[in-house]
Amino acid sequence: MNVQIPELGLVALVGPSGSGKSTFARRHFRPTEILSSDFCRGLVSDDENDQSASADAFELLHVIAQKRLARGRLVVVDATNVQKEARQPLVRIAREQHVLATAIVLDLPPSLCDARNAARADRSFGPHVVRHQSAQLRKTLRGLQREGFRYVHVLSTPEAVDATTVERTKLWTDRRSERGPFDIIGDVHGCRDELVALLVELGYEATDADGRPRFAHPEGRKAVFVGDLVDRGPDSPGVLEIVMTMVRHDAAICVPGNHEIKLRRKLDGRDVRLTHGLAETMAQLEGRPEAFLSEVRSFIDGLVSHYVFDDGKLVVAHAGMKEAFQGRASGKVREFALYGETTGETDEYGLPVRFDWASQYRGRAMVVYGHTPVPRAEWINGTLCLDTGCVFGGELTALRYPERELVSVPAGRVYYAPVRPLGSAAEPTRDDLLDLDDVMGKRIVATRIARTVTIQERNAAAALEVMSRFGVDPRWLIYLPPTMSPTATSSLGDFLEHPHEAFDYYRREALPRVVCQEKHMGSRAVLVVCRDAEAAAARFGVSDGRRGVITSRTGRPFFEDVALEVAMVARVADAAQEAGLFDELATSWLCLDAELLPWSAKAQSLLRGQYAAVAAAGRSGLGAAVEALRACASRDGGDASELLARFEARHDHLAGYEAAYARYCWPVQGLDGYALAPFHVLASEGRVHTNEDHVWHMETLARICAADPSLLRATRYRVVDLSDPDSEAAATAWWIEQVAAGGEGMVVKPLEWLPTGRSDFVQPALKVRGPEYLRIIYGPEYLSHLPRLRRRGLGAKRRLAQKEFALGIEGLERFVAGAPLYRVHECVFGVLALESEPVDPRL
């Protein structure tokens, strides 16, 4: 006997002790699929036969069953299950998890069971036990289906048990192996002309099949109908003809809409009210032969609530499908597929208020559906409603999958007056409300560059406060810059950092060329600039008239003064426009990575509270010390002179420190005095610019800078051939010249954004900071402590740089791919969270 069980579901083995359930289970199922009550008794009490532990054991068994089913794993319950009371919780669990329950009954003669039990040392109970169990089973056997088991298989002889094979069947909804391409078509509602027009527009060609048009796509694409083919419109039978023919010839797939189900009931002669356009359909069906009606009936009967396609990446259902229901089977799932989730209330038009499941949807599968007429098909958290109200005079819309292109044809006219006007409230619109679960807890984010990045719960908690209290509008925040590691510590001369080690690093990664960029000492700024306010509203959903945003490295508004920000965004956008960049990149927006100078403008409180304060303390403290030591030295003639020399040297160091930070301080007035030095064109419409090398970024940005040189500062750079000692020496000389003139130093990057080096991950950039600048970092007198400072570890910083870089790019990739806000925000939030990890702040 071949026993079929759904591949996802709950299987209850039923039979008295000694009937061979465990042996049967072991033969047909994986050990982890079997939940045995004996085993659970052992887990909680160390004794598999301790009947006093049964209550605890079953509680545990039920919890495991729930968890497995929630995760989409098969559950086989190995317990006697002879009493209805014991089976009821299993049926309930299966229902709650929206899977089917199957019973496999081993109804063997009690004498056989007794003999088996007698052969086992651990089963000391008398024969009355098995007889009692057997009697209970017989009493309830016929009611199993009524109890809620969809399939019941009874095996009554040892031979039958031995001869049984178990076959796992896919669920009806499971079409994961079908990967498309598809053309998913919205609610047709009897609009046959528009359907034909749309099919033609999509490239389908009609041939004649027994007097009916038979549409098929020459490239083998398949149409997927989201249901509601019928009612309200002028030719529901004509639409059915087309769709049924396509389905029969495997050119289309169809899920049922609530209107099909109602029509089916009517055709069965049930008492159904002829409302919502059913009357029109019935009238149109008048005079159709019985064979046609019978074809319609069996067509509708054969429709499956929803489908999961393409390895689980695409779900199609009439009214949508929340994540927990996808690929599952139950009355509730079917109801959701047909009607969506309603709150139980009705609105002012008497229509049910729909629960806005899409706004809270967080599943990975794209869900395409219809049912609720919307003015435009718009993505909401990876879901798309295709019902653009054709029958109400809107459009008939299709989605090309996997291309994600929308194709529409307009309705010929208004065929049916909508009860609720199109575009009125309660229809899903773009929803950017984030959920705490989108960011909190330990998170593992899959990225394209570094596989997965793990963010610890404590880091996420720290980021929540910063993001909530200080962050800009999350819709603008598509990128946070990663931290950057310094080059390995140098042992050359009086240098803590030197280009030599940076070049060496990339040479060891077998990268032929690097680019050296001047490092500006200001404050990091990320800019989003749009061509105009309309573009900002369309792409970022922010419609307060702003054309962009400038954020700090932690996602805060760069400027406290909004007017300054607005002015600077406008200047940069205008410069990009003048340089022709929007047209060239076919984009309405740009995301730029930049340094904004002077340092003193942004770091005012840090400067006053720390850097200048230390200088003031040092100036007066060391000044007084030198003065007192001089007095002492002149008095005693020698003893204090050694100490005096040391403190004079310290005083000189302090002067060097004062000079170092003062170079980065100058006054600003309005935008005057500010300089913006962009160094990455991070992203534009449809593209993250990681495929262009850094020279492209430098040259492209230089063109923008040339358009507004009083604000924008091009970054000086040079390309170094690592196999050419002269090229390297020239770059080193260039660095020395810059840092001698007070520059911060330079950043060395592989020429390519995402190079393939020898190790799994190549640092995207290394900073090489100048010796005078480092006084600000390591303290005024750090040069006196070089040997000890050289013992610094870079490992943690580099791992952090890798994770943040991967997350940053991932966020941009998601944004340009049109991912919902929460998916972008997850990455941005992740970078901020990682930044709360304690690392040596001097690196």
Binding site: A461, E465, L607, A613, V614, L622, A624, L643, P667
Partner: protein, 465 residues
């Protein structure tokens, strides 16, 4: 880093005996994070000056700070003023190098140690939190003539103003032991920081060093509080023992929102606000109550006192505030039945949060003005659309009333973190629009004494559905 002590008591070189350090050579002493040098810039019969120069190793300072449990924010930075400024390191060096003199003892000149002589102490770089006035308030009651010169932050950038460092000279006729004791206690008090963990033994140290002058000092509370690094419990214990004869109870100093509270004290506004919120909650018969933005738990404490509030949940975005609420509400020691009524949640009012559903009422007392205007939409949706309790109570300042606060500049906000403050009309417009959008009705209720012209200091919106 430099302390000099001068006397003109003849023979002035007796200062060397008093300090136990000979004037004729430089002497150096090991300290935990560096060295201290003692030398004499001048040493004549008429005038003698001893110098105590701290020579701290900046790297050692940082390493020690990172290892210690204080995790001193300032010291973990490599660029910090500790090597240059006078601080608790100075006190430690006085104790280490001039220990006997600090205790009023001298092997060679015991009578002189007990004699008041003309003394002058100069601290080259004394960080003063609280400005020159506070500096004078500390030393002048002890009989010192105070001379103070403030160091500019950076002479190249005049606009940056002055630093917190003063060159301070103190003159008095007193014993050397008293002078050193005053410096030992008051230098860290002025700096308002300590480089080491402050625990119970610091209370003992303060009581011993301050026994004969601190109880009568007009700023004893502030001195004690700062000396004990503003740790409320320690301060209370020290003050109680210090002024054992007086019986006025000592209140915990509020740690947050001090400025705003100080501003609003005249109308004891916070209490009236809480009273108004509590009265409304009782009116609507709420049993399960959310306090959104609960901070340190002032409202939660009141809610816990009334058993009709069966379930009380506080949410805040700051884990530190929640930690303090946990302490102040003494959640660790609450009886189980009380403990079961209350829960503290870490969350944000701009992220939808499933844990906030199922409550009768939600309060956000003085919270919305801390949100950036562009977050208000998310806030409204989180509270009214998703948490959706029957009653929502919001309070926020009435900006019109600000003109009635002395010392608040025109157009300024009551608190540095306020992102906006609304007039009655602005709040009313927002409240009505929000209520309409989410199917609520709203009543606007004034809180505090109503000023005829500018209205009440606080406005409250009670939303119901």
């Amino acid at each position: 880093m430099l302390l000099t002590i001068t006397t003109t008591h003849r023979p002035a070189t007796d200062l060397g005996y008093l300090l136990g350090k000979r004037p004729d050579r430089v002497q150096s002493f090991e300290l935990p994070s560096g060295r201290a040098h003692v030398f004499y810039p001048e040493a004549s019969d008429a005038r003698c000056t001893a110098a105590l120069l701290l020579d701290l190793d900046p790297l050692d300072l940082v390493r020690a700070a990172r290892r210690s449990k204080t995790r001193d924010e300032l010291l973990t930075h490599y660029v910090n003023d500790r090597p240059y400024a006078s601080s608790s390191f100075t006190s430690a060096a006085i104790s280490r190098v001039f220990g006997a003199a600090l205790g009023g003892r001298s092997r060679e000149r015991p009578e002189l140690a007990a004699t008041a002589i003309p003394l002058e102490a100069t601290l080259a770089t004394l960080p003063v939190r609280g400005g020159e006035r506070f500096l004078r308030e500390l030393f002048e009651p002890l009989g010192y003539e105070v001379e103070a010169a403030r160091e500019p932050l950076d002479p190249r950038f005049e606009a940056w103003g002055g630093s917190r460092y003063y060159r301070v000279t103190l003159r008095a006729t007193t014993t050397l032991g008293r002078l050193l004791t005053h410096l030992f206690v008051l230098v860290p008090v002025l700096d308002d920081d300590k480089h080491y963990w402050v625990g119970d033994d610091e209370v003992e140290k303060l009581l011993a060093k301050g026994a004969d002058w601190l109880p009568d000092h007009p700023r004893r509370e502030e001195i004690t509080r700062r000396y004990l690094k503003r740790q409320g419990a320690l301060t209370r214990r020290a003050l109680e023992r210090l002024i054992a004869t007086e019986s006025a109870p000592i209140e915990d100093e509020p740690e947050l929102d001090e400025a705003e509270d100080a501003l609003e004290t005249k109308v004891s506004l916070n209490e009236r606000r809480l009273a108004a919120v509590l009265a409304t909650l009782r009116d609507v018969g709420a049993a399960r109550v959310l306090d959104l933005g609960c901070g340190e738990g002032r409202l939660l404490r009141e809610l816990l006192r009334d058993r009709r509030f069966e379930r009380v949940v506080g949410l805040d975005v700051s884990t530190r505030a929640l930690g303090r609420a946990h302490e102040r509400l003494r959640l660790e020691t609450l009886p189980p039945a009380q403990r079961a009524r209350i829960e503290l949640l870490h969350g944000s009012l701009t992220y939808r949060d499933a844990r906030l559903a199922g409550f009768d009422a939600a309060c956000a007392v003085e919270v919305i003005e801390h949100l950036d205007p562009w977050r208000l939409d998310a806030f409204a949706r989180v509270v009214f659309e998703h948490a959706a309790p029957r009653t929502v109570i919001l309070t926020t300042p009435n900006a019109e009333f600000n003109v009635r606060f002395d010392g608040l500049a025109a157009g300024a906000h009551r608190h540095a973190d306020h992102r906006f403050e609304w007039s009655r009309e602005e709040f009313g417009a927002w409240a009505h629009a929000t209520a309409a959008r989410f199917g609520y009705t709203v009543r606007l209720i004034p809180v505090g004494d109503i000023d005829e012209e500018v209205g009440p200091p606080t406005q409250m919106g009670v939303f119901s559905r």
